[in-house]
Subunit: 771 residues, 2 copies
């Protein structure tokens, strides 16, 4: 059918293409789906190498043994990611707890003498911590600001954001979040931990950081972009697992929220990583229990165990729970909208003025936060301690220097406590624990909760988007549990006879706010169950999440999607837009002019075409025996740039280079095509050619992707969308309808057993060795 | 580009195709991916109806409101599936527990006087129960035999097995498993519960059972096969959730094991169903705790709570745990292989001889099982009770008629117990609970455990494949926990000073055997955690599962895959075969001859072509304006059969029917194309045509799938495989390479905002209303 020399060229292209690594920003998934989906399995590194006589030597060493080694390395890296992320999480937690613990201890000690002095010390310590954080971010690692989850999501969707996975970002993230969380801002350390996990994974995948000379040879295993993305998926799951001590939640988070596609082999590796994290964290916590970690101990890692709380629920309670869901949806959607506006404003006007503005902004917010969290409890009258219950371990007021409920703060008597200080003048983890706590009915007044809700919500909105590492989980839980507890108080008041715990409502409130803001469902549900260690509330959490997500979806998109849009990260949603149903593939690309290359192309032409447009991929068209045109493949801009720069493949003749015997000399080390990690790669401006060079030719055949996916011109765009998203593509060719069908592939054709054609394979390998 | 009349025809085809339901065995996923992937979203029922003037009236009612209603119905059905499966599970459990409880109570009462009489009564009760089960299956619901999981997996993969989702199968499954499990055979009720859930879901999706006149109008909502399959996925998850009280495990089981593809919208609905099941089961158990369910109470639903057991582990223990993993892999693979041989033999020779043989076989196995489980403990010498521990609730021997450890059976003294009877002469749930139990070191002798292991393993292998509903989970757990406990005994003996519980090793053994046999990983892990209610053992369970799966994979495939192969269910694995890398699309289909239809085809030709081959899909080729051939779509065999049978679309003229004005009269009610649930559908033999009919023509345009997915002829087969599997296709056209590229679709083209082209849409709708 095809003329021989084209067939020959295409064959070669296939062989070589399979070895080409990725080298273009955002191009990677297309490369993957071309290179790797020709062998989706994890072990398919050596795809089609077998046929390739140019690599016969390499083939010898890259047999089944190499595949085994390769798989082994993947698992080993998963192990390393687990250990690394676990240790990073432990380090951050110990540091935060110690800074915060020391801060509160110092403040409490001083306020015994003077509240003003305590106030100043408190403000200064917070300011110092926040300043350290914002200084690190602005001066050293600007990509470490924010939560990092939208960027990671984008990366796994195929879109690189500059610098998010560098070594300096990792360092900035770790130390920056210690400062920002320790400094008492209204943000959490969970999002940054996900980013941390992803950075660790990416650094391992790249083989270390070349800039900091941390790239030992034994790490240089993964050339394929797909393998690196797989590792980053593991890293994300590890981050969640480490942040919440929720291994299953981590796996589901990676599955539901971050990856755009998924394979069961990867799932198991992700699970393994999460479990390793769980082991590491648990071991470290066991070690800390003996008091070796300073203030870290009873507090620290999030586990708000509410197993002592409400076990059962009556049908009457479903109504207030539904109300919590609605509130969560409304407040969550409002949060997304407000943060969107504020971030937009910050990016447009504020942050353009330089780092100094960013630093001043963060410090200002720190001071305001300190004033509010110290000042407001001062204005609040103390309440008398409740009658102590013999069964309860709770002391009122709590002993000085300890964690717990019933904080005595600016109270006249010993047997009093300040309910606003209990939640406000505390680390966030302790505040949440106090809000979730059972057997503490009537601890908080509605007025205090409402004050806290309004103030903290405002602080969280304002803090979002400052130049410090910032997660939204813990603030979300704080906000949610506050109004949840408020609703719980009303329920206790009106449904008197039931065994109701306000803490249970606080938990549901937290779930509802997260659902209303982040719109995750399954993973959030599992995370909430894992952190509260109570399987019995699962159906209630689901009910609340369902409602809050539905309410939130009526207004806007999820927090991460909104932020990704704002940052210009083009995420493909899981479902095509409604209007796509009415469009065809041709209509979608009608604005473009298609620029194609011939098989052998003049260097001058390549140069001018690359200069004159910004397309990332070009069709290559050749002529068949009868002179008819045939599309023989896709060439990437990035690969063309490498070819132009290296000049190795330039030839004088405008004829295909394989006319003699079909053997194309391969002059490249394929690692040349690997895109340097997290950099922007080559640009046409970097290429410098002599006039002589311009007169030369290149045969593009060896560097083609010989069979990109194609769709007929009048295929519905939704169908194209699904193809694109399900296979993680970057380019699809829109072609005219075919004149005939050569064959139909059905399920049965794909179930051929290996032994069916072992004879054929035998034959092929014999014939190829004769060449 | 295209000639107008073709374009017109294709447009019409698109409109109409989108309304065509599925009607062919195994065809369904292709239809889905054509119809539904043009709008993957759940709400896309009315895809492209907007453009279709033939349905303008329907469009009016099928607006956004209808979509809302449709989504609402889906959730409502998910709720019903949850409630239905939960109630079915409760019913089966109560029935089994009561039968078994009454059986053991009667036997124990009689053996106080005569062991022989007790023996006979025991055998007879078991025989009666097993007979009832095998009688129901053979006479009434043959499709209800076995676990049903391979068949459901096949169904969700796109392959219908006859009769697996009928109402009678549901009834047969429920009552059959009560008999077989209550009758003490070495099988479980968990697999059948998954099948039960799937049946309930399928019946709801079909709108009830027409045969039994249980098909109210309000149930007739889902015409699309995809929606039905989604419901069945929910049903599977519900089954697992009900069987193990493990909602998260159920979701992951559905995700990992049964579905071949997955969407996040579905995931959330599956989760909802599982949670409903959890609520229903929990409510029912709460109600039963007050003693209203007879023997059902402390026993019953699987929850082998081992939270009182070993909490910590030392590194030294990892070695014996790895050994457990290896044993699990070996025994699991052996189990798969033996059951494969036995099932093969049964199908080939034994079961062909009719139902009487099946009944005799099952009864024989029942008698043998009874003899072994009653007789072997008789031969075992009783052991003296251990010194009673004040802290422990365990009594030795257990009080008569209760559940628990230390069964006094054929012992001479009061303070003695029979360790073999404790595990053998008991319901399986109790035996597992006893094996898992903590604080019972040295309860079992190695000899007893070994005897039990060998005998039970043999029984499980022999019982597998008899004509009764049979799950493999519980027998697997029994086998695994036996050798696990054996290893635990050695560990206790050799590592003396550690705080080791044999029960923990039993749990790990159970996980290892299931991993070695079923090769599930993540879902199994979560299920084990959920049923044992102990999150702390998660990393150990993962370690063991990882090893056992790896060892098992070295020998053969998983249990369900092996069985599916044997039954001729063509499941596509998640990764393409190694040899596919060397094949092209064209090579895969070279054995076929492609038969295509012209656009307007003579009835006689259709009839003879359908008669002469068994293809399920045919390309339709038309001629463009310049006489060039163009593939305009795919027509399904099943749709052709409906057309032939109804004769509505026959026309005298060999010209396209839309030459005047382009309006194609639609004479069909589209539900005609719906395949009757779980039947084989129309066959060419059912069609009776007159000689006049043979001279007529049909215009196929309205019934085409106008844009099936296409691949170029020399695309690598692995790439085709991924396309096929990721999109859940049934047919792919292999076409020649395209002569030119009309456009390139990139990520940016798919991110067009709706408002971008709202003007266009406006225009279109205006122009269409002018016609």
């Amino acid at each position: 059918m095809l003329s021989d020399h084209i067939q020959n060229g295409i064959e070669t292209a296939k062989l070589v293409w399979s070895r080409l690594p990725t080298s273009e920003e955002g191009e990677s998934e297309e490369v993957n789906s071309s290179k790797r989906s020709d062998g989706t399995s994890v072990e398919s590194l050596d795809y089609e190498v077998i046929e390739n006589y140019a690599y016969r030597e390499e083939q010898a060493q890259r047999g089944r043994l190499y595949v085994g080694y390769y798989v082994g390395v993947k698992w080993f890296f998963a192990l390393l990611i687990g250990i690394g992320t676990g240790l990073a999480a432990v380090f951050i937690n110990i540091a935060v707890e110690n800074f915060a613990g020391w801060k509160f201890a110092a403040t409490f000690a001083i306020i015994q003498k003077s509240y003003l002095a305590g106030f100043i010390v408190y403000i200064l310590i917070n300011l110092a911590l926040v300043f350290s954080s914002v200084f690190i971010i602005t001066q050293f690692a600007p990509a470490a600001a924010g939560s990092g989850i939208p960027e990671i999501k984008g990366y796994l969707n195929g879109v690189d954001t500059h610098g998010i996975l560098l070594f300096r970002t990792l360092i900035g993230k770790i130390f920056g979040s210690i400062g920002s969380v320790g400094g008492g801002l209204a943000l959490g350390k969970e999002g940054p931990l996900v980013h941390t996990g992803a950075c660790i994974a990416s650094l391992l995948g790249q083989g270390g950081s070349t800039k900091y000379h941390l790239s030992p040879r034994w790490l240089q295993v993964f050339k394929s972009d797909r393998d690196r993305r797989d590792l980053v998926t593991c890293g994300c799951a590890a981050g969640v697992a480490a942040a919440f001590r929720a291994p299953v939640g981590g796996v589901l988070f990676a599955l539901e929220e971050v990856t755009s596609w998924w394979r069961s082999q990867l799932m198991w590796r992700v699970f393994f990583t999460s479990a390793i994290v769980a082991v590491v964290v648990r071991t470290a916590m066991g070690w800390c229990k003996s008091g070796k970690c300073g203030h870290f101990g009873s507090g620290g890692f999030i586990i708000w165990d509410i197993s002592g709380g409400q076990d059962d629920y009556s049908f009457e309670e479903l109504f207030p729970m539904a109300i919590i869901g609605i509130i969560g949806g409304l407040l969550g959607a409002l949060f997304n909208q407000l943060t969107l506006y504020i971030t937009y404003w910050r990016r447009k006007s504020l942050h353009k003025r330089g780092n100094r503005v960013k630093i001043i902004e963060a410090c200002l917010i720190s001071v305001i936060t300190s004033i509010i969290s110290f000042g407001l409890p001062l204005l609040r009258k103390c309440s008398p301690c409740p009658e102590s219950d013999a069964n309860s371990d709770l002391e009122c007021p709590r002993p000085p220097g300890m964690y717990g409920n019933y904080v005595n703060f600016y109270c006249s008597k010993d047997k009093e406590y300040n309910d606003l200080a209990t939640i406000f003048f505390n680390t966030q983890d302790d505040a949440i624990r106090n809000l979730f706590s059972a057997k503490t009915i009537h601890e908080y007044s509605a007025q205090s909760l409402l004050t806290f809700l309004v103030m903290f919500y405002t602080l969280a909105v304002v803090t979002f988007g400052t130049a410090v590492p910032a997660g939204q989980f813990v603030p979300g839980i704080m906000i949610g549990s506050t109004y949840g507890r408020l609703v719980g108080m009303f329920v206790v008041k009106f449904y008197r006879k039931l065994n109701i715990e306000e803490g249970t409502y606080a938990l549901l409130g937290a779930a509802s706010f997260l659902g209303g803001s982040m719109r995750m469902t399954v993973s959030l549900c599992v995370i909430m169950v894992e952190i509260t260690n109570n399987l019995k509330l699962l159906p209630l959490i689901m009910l609340v999440l369902l409602i809050s997500k539905a309410v939130g979806d009526a207004f806007n998109e999820g927090l991460y999607e909104e932020q990704a849009h704002l940052r210009g990260i083009p995420l493909l949603e899981s479902r095509p837009k409604y209007h796509m149903r009415k469009m065809t593939a041709k209509e979608a690309c009608r604005r473009q002019k298609v620029v194609s290359f011939p098989r052998v192309v003049k260097v001058a032409n390549v140069f001018s075409i690359l200069r004159s447009n910004k397309h990332n991929g070009f069709p290559v068209v050749d002529h068949g025996r009868n002179g008819e045109a045939l599309v023989i493949g896709l060439i990437l801009r990035s690969h063309l740039l490498v070819l132009l720069q290296s000049k190795l493949d330039f030839q004088h003749s405008p004829l295909p280079c394989d006319l003699g015997m079909g053997s194309i000399p391969i002059r490249h080390n394929f690692s040349e095509f690997v895109k340097p990690a997290s950099s922007t790669g080559l640009s046409i401006e970097d290429i410098h050619l002599t006039p002589d060079d311009f007169e030369m030719y290149i045969d593009l055949t060896p560097f083609l992707n010989p069979s990109p996916y194609v769709v007929p011109e009048d295929m519905s765009l939704t169908k194209v969308y699904n193809l694109f998203r399900q296979l993680g593509l970057r380019h699809v060719f829109v072609v005219p309808r075919a004149p005939r069908v050569i064959g139909l592939i059905t399920r049965k054709d794909l179930l051929v057993e290996e032994n069916d054609d072992s004879a054929t394979v035998e034959l092929q390998s014999t014939s190829s060795s004769e060449i």
